[in-house]
């Protein structure tokens, strides 16, 4: 992402979910700075479920740790049970710390990206930009619904290293090839 690149978020409908009103306010201020004008704010996963059931969103940003129901569970529900118009919407989860017991849930809930708190405007915008360019296929099977967890030609998110030894450096796209060709690859 270059400083001269343009992004038009004015007509993108955002759903922001965080149980901490102060954190929710900060996120709202940040995305408003990006030019987002259509923002729905929810203070719990339950409120978010209601909003998702009644409105159409183009992007969801949710906190991971929330009482009663966490962000991972919300995204799992979204991918499997939400109304069709929102089921495949891009989602970023923000988290300060991932509990040991939630690691697999975080991997399997069907989110597009996870961003570490505290939020910085640059990192969040980079992830939104990356998600907007994300052309991964969706996978739907018994155990997983969400974007393909293998970063295909897109490469890992900006600033992050891929996990394979032969992954290119951050910011360099992966060479064109299909993962379907990989023997024994998971769905």
């Amino acid at each position: 992402m270059l400083d001269s690149d343009k992004l038009n978020l004015e007509r993108v409908r955002f759903l922001l979910v965080d149980d901490n009103p102060q954190a929710l306010n900060i996120t709202t201020q940040v995305v408003t700075g990006y030019g987002v004008r259509k923002i729905t704010k929810c203070g719990s996963a339950r409120e978010a479920r209601t909003a998702i059931s009644n409105m159409t969103f183009d992007f969801i940003l949710t906190d991971a740790q929330m009482p009663e129901e966490d962000g991972y569970s919300l995204v799992s529900w979204l991918r499997r049970e939400a109304p069709e118009q929102n089921r495949f919407v891009p989602v970023i989860i923000v988290t300060g710390h991932t509990r040991q017991g939630q690691v697999m849930q975080a991997r399997d809930c069907g989110v597009h990206a996870i961003v570490a708190k505290p939020l910085t405007p640059r990192v969040l915008l980079e992830r939104i930009y990356w998600v907007a360019h994300d052309d991964r296929k969706f996978i739907e099977c018994d155990t997983y619904v969400g974007p393909d967890r293998r970063f295909h030609s897109l490469g890992p998110p900006m600033g992050m290293h891929g996990r394979r030894n032969d992954d290119p450096p951050p910011g360099v796209p992966m060479p064109e090839e299909t993962h379907d060709a990989q023997p024994g690859a998971d769905p």
Binding site: K6, E10, V12, I26, Q100, K117
Partner: protein, 163 residues
């Protein structure tokens, strides 16, 4: 096992965000940074309140800390991470994350190591007071010490996947 379906989804985010018009990344970040500056003071006030509560309920001088729900220490520390932009370049979010690791592992393994907790609380205090004046090497040394304490007293956390 059911069939695996693979399909493309047309994203409205992509259509709208990458379409005509909009603002440059430079201008978007400038506006967002200005918005953050407006709330930095409030964040710092809340961070201080959370530190004071941790002190009052969980520090070495807290008389009833054994009776406090240990999970509350996780929540307080997690809240400090949320609002750590109030104290940029202090490293306080890393110390708070280390305390979350410690509490999480302690809860999983049914341990309470108050000496390890004390070291983390002292580090939070230190970084609150002087973290921004430390060099990156000094901050790394302080934070590296926390990892060693947790590994020695509670155990090694499992590796988190990179998504």
């Amino acid at each position: 096992m059911g069939a695996v379906k693979k399909f493309k989804v047309k994203s409205r985010l992509a259509t709208l965000a990458l379409g005509h018009g909009g603002v440059s990344v430079r201008d978007a970040l400038k506006a967002a940074d200005a918005a953050i500056d407006n709330v930095r003071g409030d964040c710092l006030t809340t961070v201080d309140a959370r530190l004071a509560e941790i002190d009052r309920r969980f520090s070495a001088t807290a008389p009833g800390r054994n009776r406090e729900p240990f999970g509350d220490l996780y929540d307080l520390s997690s809240n400090i991470i949320d609002l750590a932009m109030g104290l940029p370049n202090s490293g306080i979010e890393h110390a708070a994350r280390a305390l979350c690791d410690l509490v999480d592992l302690s809860l999983e393994r049914d341990l309470r190591d108050w000496e390890a907790v004390d070291v983390h609380i002292e580090t939070l205090r230190l970084l609150r007071a002087q973290g921004q004046a430390f060099s990156p090497a000094q901050r790394d040394a302080v934070l590296g010490g926390l990892k060693k304490v947790t590994m020695k007293r509670v155990g090694e956390p499992g590796a988190l996947p990179t998504l």
